[in-house]
Symmetry: C2
Subunit: 107 residues, 2 copies
């Protein structure tokens, strides 16, 4: 896996898929935050929400790594977690992502 | 200011006032969190909410210091910020809190 594999079109599609997944995950996170905010009954619920956001921020920061050397693994994880479909990654490059994702979903 | 000034009754009243202020401030914070959660439109709003909670947690942790040597200052600040009234601190001890609060509100 290296940069030379990525055509201009593949880079454009990869960026779009990456951003789509990020938006979906953040929209889902927003729903979770709203539900937790609504359910606050005592001060400890506030600090639990803070802990939750701290953990999610780290998780999201680690996950959305847009280095071409990492994208196969990133996309495989996003497929495994349901943020992208195989179809949405068609035309992005070789079969590494699909192979990686299939292994991930089996594990 | 030292522990010897605090009678059993004064300690009980101080604890009640302290907890009342904490509950009020957390209830207000809950309202702010719900409003911010409702207003999330893009991912950066999520991370801004996390920053906000981090700052508030530190502020609240620092403020609610229940050492008898600190209580005059703590109560003075709570009065200044509107979380307690002078009336709610009646019978707690000497006039140090009132004096401290009056100075704080002038500054």
């Amino acid at each position: 896996m290296n940069d030379t594999r990525w055509s201009k079109t593949a880079k454009k599609k990869a960026r779009e898929a990456f951003e789509k997944a990020y938006e979906r995950e953040c929209a889902d996170l927003t729903d979770q935050i709203r539900a937790k905010a609504k359910a606050i009954r005592e001060p400890s619920d506030i600090w639990n929400l803070h802990d939750f956001l701290m953990q999610k921020r780290k998780e999201v920061d680690d996950k959305y790594d847009y280095r071409y050397s990492m994208l196969d693994f990133v996309f495989a994880r996003l497929i495994k977690e349901g943020w992208l479909s195989f179809q949405e990654l068609e035309g992005i490059g070789d079969d590494n992502i699909v192979a990686e994702a299939r292994v991930s979903t089996i594990v």
